[in-house]
């Protein structure tokens, strides 16, 4: 089992999907139950990864599997090549951890076509896990594209009023970006083959070793970076996100925010930056600028929202700007901060979308103006909501603080100092819009009579939130559990991106000197 642990983990949900096909359509409870059990088993299968200490010392890929897959003579070769390291470790665990929670959130929220929804959830889990563990660019691309299909249907069928527009926009935005990446992947492959490198597939390890000339890197990096920027989403290609988030059902929003957005930032760390180190350095100022614009713009727009869900959606744009800034700082603090913040955002924003779902299920509205004074009738809810709000703002003691602190520290110490100065205002804005929203929803007078008889959270809802709260404090108080297992991989990444670049610039300098003589 442990030999094929990653494969088992990835394809278990798919097996679950097959089981679902034999369950009658009208037996909603059973369908949801099976899905829940499957996602929980998947989580337990993935759990040994969290306790494996090898990640503390080794940056190498662990649990690797390699099976030759498509081979067409000398034309091309693709392999089923998977593995996990400190970079993907926590994202994989985040995925398996969030999925049972997402399933539980559907209990009352999804009542039509339950079979379809559950099947899509399971398909989505396989696709997301596959994308995180793929070590072959072709394989990655397949899982990456596969992810779009279930999300498209989840938004389009179970979404809100503008679901059709949002679903199509989501699909086309993300697909367009990835198609350009596909051409770039093919280009690198054939460029390598033609320059005489023996390529045994599209394995990233192989691609890392290529010394791609700087002028080519620029274009290839742009193709990759564009595709990932859409997914992150970075300003100005973020516009699909508020639509998709607002229209998606709660489970969809949770998965989208907690996991799928991480595909973009993960893509930068895993592919775009180590593959094209020189182009990365060339583009860092521009991308950082976009990241900072995203931070401030997202926060300002969030402040203006009168719909809670939209507010949370725009706050994602802002938070992911932070992640990007940390990654681009390219030092240990920034990178680890960025990685940790990816997990944090998954937990906090995932929780926020669940909270929005809770009140939406009760009142069928998400307008801030419709609420006020809820704390009086829903004390448990208020407490949990408050903790999550603090975590999203980044109050010390919560997970958000550690992440943002590391990111800003990293950015200040790098060449991005001035960007960090502006980004810091984003922290303040975040406090403003979150607290203001919290105050308007939870405090004040209970004006609206419809709110007077609201029930507090049920046991199921509390059970959903507890694991999230645990991690809010765990990461907030003792982030080392998580950081120490990503450090070796982060160091290696830093070396990959900075090291190559430095070697190249030294060579350039030498070359220059020779010319001068």
């Amino acid at each position: 089992m442990s030999q094929h642990l990653l494969s088992w983990m990835t394809f278990l949900p798919l097996l679950g999907l097959l089981v679902l096909l034999f369950i009658p359509r009208d037996n909603g409870g059973l369908l949801k139950g099976i899905t829940l059990v499957v996602t929980i088993i998947t989580f337990f299968v993935s759990l040994p990864l969290a306790f494996d200490d090898v990640f503390k010392t080794s940056a190498a890929m662990q649990y690797t599997e390699f099976v030759p897959w498509i081979s067409v003579g000398s034309y091309f070769q693709m392999n089923y090549n998977i593995g996990i390291d400190g970079i993907s470790l926590w994202l994989v665990l985040l995925t398996t951890f969030i999925m049972p929670i997402a399933v539980l959130s559907t209990w009352n929220a999804v009542d039509k076509n339950i079979k379809g929804f559950m099947a899509l959830l399971l398909l989505l889990e396989t696709a997301m896990l596959g994308a995180f563990i793929a070590l072959d660019l072709f394989l990655f691309y397949i899982f990456w594209e596969l992810m779009l299909i279930p999300m498209y249907f989840m938004i389009g069928i179970w979404g809100g009023k503008n679901r059709i527009y949002a679903a199509i926009k989501f699909f086309i935005y993300t697909a367009v970006g990835s198609l350009l990446m596909l051409v770039a992947i093919m280009y690198i492959y054939y460029a390598a083959v033609q320059s005489g490198v023996a390529m045994d597939g599209f394995s990233i390890a192989h691609f890392y070793d290529l010394n791609i000339p700087a002028h080519l890197q620029t274009w290839l990096f742009l193709a990759f970076a564009f595709s990932f920027a859409i997914k992150v989403p970075m300003f100005p290609v973020h516009t699909w996100l508020p639509d998709a988030h607002t229209e998606a059902p709660t489970a969809g929003s949770v998965i989208l925010a907690a996991i799928m957005l991480k595909m973009g930032t993960y893509g930068y760390i895993r592919f775009a930056m180590p593959l094209f180190p020189e182009a990365t350095h060339q583009f860092i100022p521009y991308l950082s600028l976009l990241a900072v614009i995203g931070i401030i713009y997202g926060a300002l727009v969030a402040m203006m929202q009168d719909d809670v869900k939209k507010l949370v959606a725009y706050s994602s744009v802002s938070h992911l700007g932070f992640v990007m800034l940390g990654i681009f700082a390219l030092n240990m603090q920034g990178l680890s901060g960025g990685m940790l913040q990816m997990v944090n955002h998954g937990i906090s924003t995932g929780a926020l979308f669940l909270i929005v779902g809770f009140i939406y299920e009760r009142r069928h509205t998400r307008a801030i103006a419709d609420f006020g004074g809820l704390a009086k009738v829903m004390p448990v809810f208020a407490t949990i909501f408050m903790i999550i709000t603090f975590s999203s703002i980044g109050l010390p003691g919560t997970n958000g603080f550690v992440g943002e602190f590391l990111i800003l520290l990293g950015a200040f110490e790098s060449e991005l100092r001035w960007f960090a100065v502006f980004a810091t205002t984003g922290v303040i804005f975040a406090a403003v819009y979150m607290l203001w929203m919290f105050q308007r929803v939870m405090f004040g007078e209970l004006k609206n009579p419809a709110n007077e008889k609201l029930k507090d959270l049920s046991l199921r809802e509390v059970v959903i939130m507890i694991p999230l709260l645990v991690f809010v404090f765990w990461i907030g108080v003792y982030p080392n559990t998580f950081l120490e297992k990503m450090n070796p991989s982060m160091e290696q990444l830093m070396e990959q991106v900075n090291g190559k670049h430095q070697v190249a610039s030294v060579e350039q300098v030498n070359h220059h000197q020779v010319d001068v003589k």
Binding site: I70, V72, I142, L146, I149, F153, I157, F171, Y190
Partner: protein, 489 residues
């Protein structure tokens, strides 16, 4: 002249035309059987023609990797090489799936006429002659055999104005295009003194001066017009939407795959073997057409509300993708074309088979509005159509993705990176109209109960076969890709 006939007679080798021969014999036998069958009874003809397809498939596969002497004949007019065999299999898949989805359809539309099936078999035999023709005259004859049967099939519903229009339009324009083709052949014969494809290539290589000869260039262009018309490449695509919409749905499916593949087969062989020396000239012509075809097909498809018409424009666009592989002109690209033809046959015929099941009599419901909520009322068919559409979009893990990957990889390898980029941008464009079908199928409330959608054994089998092919070749394409690679002449 007598000499030629003698040479031909000495060279008779039925092995070289065996699949087409078997198919033609079956076709004629079935025409006879049909005469003695009671009116309105066609099921046995349909199943017998499936037997014909099966037997021919065995014969066709048997020719794979045979030594060249065994598979050439008729004084160098035909060669049943791997290239031809690969295409023969595509034709048989197309014909088989078409026949399977036809029988109940014909009854529903009130045309239980048995001649339909022999016509498909003869048409397929014509396609086989095109693929194995190594002489321009054989290719021309194959094209005519194929076309005549198709003219009849397109206008098969003789009481329906639309179908009549389809048949007539296809006939008139098709006759023009074969005229062009024949003129092109005549000009090339005038220059080189032969109609044998390889000899034309040999002559041109030996006399490089002939390349700049106006007659050669005109011959090349006229020849390509004839082929491009059959493939429905812009600007010779105008007939396609009207004919596709008017023809009986199974025939539309067949036309968009089988004859198109046949024209591609002849096109590839003539242009690479015969006119290979002029490659620089024709690639610059073809890449312009490929780009135009992709854009025109996709953009116009966006505006369609009739599903058959939409698929017609999309099939124009798909021909454009395949042409990209030909422009790449390297082994990856060209074997990519072969693989893509098979891929397209599977996914497109699958989609049409669902439409056949979904259609009411007269088919006025084959519009976007007409399929609102179909995915809920008939979930299995809905999922099948969804998978076919995702495959047409080129989303993994379906054959549409592996096929496009193959073709675009060829283009990238040949240095046509921008052509590959235009290709993928077009795939992005196509997302919109394919997704919209799903929007109507799943995101809209059903307005009808689709009670007329019956489980028809044949059509369901053809959906299942296509589905299996689409998914199998999407996940494990390696073996068939290898075959496509071995099939290059």
């Amino acid at each position: 002249m007598e000499n030629l006939v003698q040479i031909a007679m000495n060279n008779v080798n039925f092995g070289a035309i065996m699949p087409a021969l078997v198919l033609s014999l079956f076709g004629m036998a079935l025409l006879l059987i049909n005469v003695f069958s009671p009116r309105g009874k066609t099921a046995h003809v349909a199943w017998l023609s499936m037997v014909a397809i099966g037997v021919t498939a065995v014969v066709a596969v048997n020719a794979w990797n045979k030594p060249f002497q065994e598979i050439t004949g008729f004084a160098g007019h035909v060669a049943l090489d791997n290239f031809a065999t690969f295409f023969n299999i595509i034709f048989l898949v197309a014909a088989g799936l078409t026949i399977l989805m036809s029988d109940d359809y014909l009854k529903r539309e009130g045309y239980p006429v048995g001649e339909y099936y022999p016509l498909i078999l003869l048409c397929t035999a014509g396609a086989m002659f095109m693929a194995s023709g190594i002489n321009l005259m054989t290719i021309f004859l194959g094209l005519e055999v194929l076309s005549v049967a198709l003219y009849v099939l397109a206008g098969f519903f003789r009481d329906q104005a639309q179908s009549n229009e389809a048949g007539l339009k296809y006939f008139f324009l098709g006759a023009f295009s074969t005229g062009f083709l024949l003129y092109g052949i005549a000009l090339l014969y005038g220059v080189t003194g032969t109609t044998n494809v390889a000899e034309i290539g040999g002559y041109l290589n030996a006399n490089p001066g002939a390349y700049s000869n106006l007659m050669t260039v005109a011959g090349m262009i006229l020849l390509s017009v004839g082929f491009l018309f059959k493939i429905a490449i812009v600007p010779f695509h105008m007939w396609a939407p009207d004919v596709y919409q008017g023809a009986p749905t199974p025939i539309t499916a067949f036309m968009s795959a089988g004859p198109k593949a046949a024209a591609f087969a002849a096109f590839l062989r003539v242009f690479f073997l015969g006119l290979g020396g002029m490659q620089a000239d024709w690639t610059s012509l073809l890449w312009v057409l490929a780009v135009l075809t992709m854009f025109v097909g996709n953009v116009l498809a966006i505006y369609q509300t009739n599903l058959k018409r939409m698929l017609a424009y999309s099939s124009v666009a798909h021909a454009g993708y395949a042409l990209v592989g030909m422009v790449a002109a390297n082994a990856v690209g060209v074997s990519g074309v072969l693989f893509y033809m098979l891929a397209y046959t599977l996914m497109n015929l699958g989609a049409f088979a669902v439409l056949v099941l979904l259609g009411k009599k007269g088919e006025e419901n084959l519009t976007l509005d007409g399929i609102a909520g179909f995915g809920y009322k008939r979930p299995y068919l809905g999922v099948a159509l969804t998978i076919f559409l995702f495959s047409l979009m080129g989303i993994p893990p379906t054959v549409g993705f592996t096929g496009k990957f193959y073709i675009f990889a060829g283009a990238v390898k040949a240095g046509y990176v921008w052509l590959a980029i235009l290709g993928v941008l077009n795939s992005a464009l196509s997302l919109y109209y394919y997704l919209r079908v799903m929007v109507y199928m799943y995101f809209k409330e059903p307005t009808e109960d689709f009670s007329w959608v019956k489980v028809q054994v044949g059509a369901v089998i053809s959906v299942l076969i296509a589905l299996a092919g689409v998914l199998y070749l999407g996940v494990i394409p390696g073996k068939v890709m290898d075959l496509a690679k071995m099939a290059l002449f």
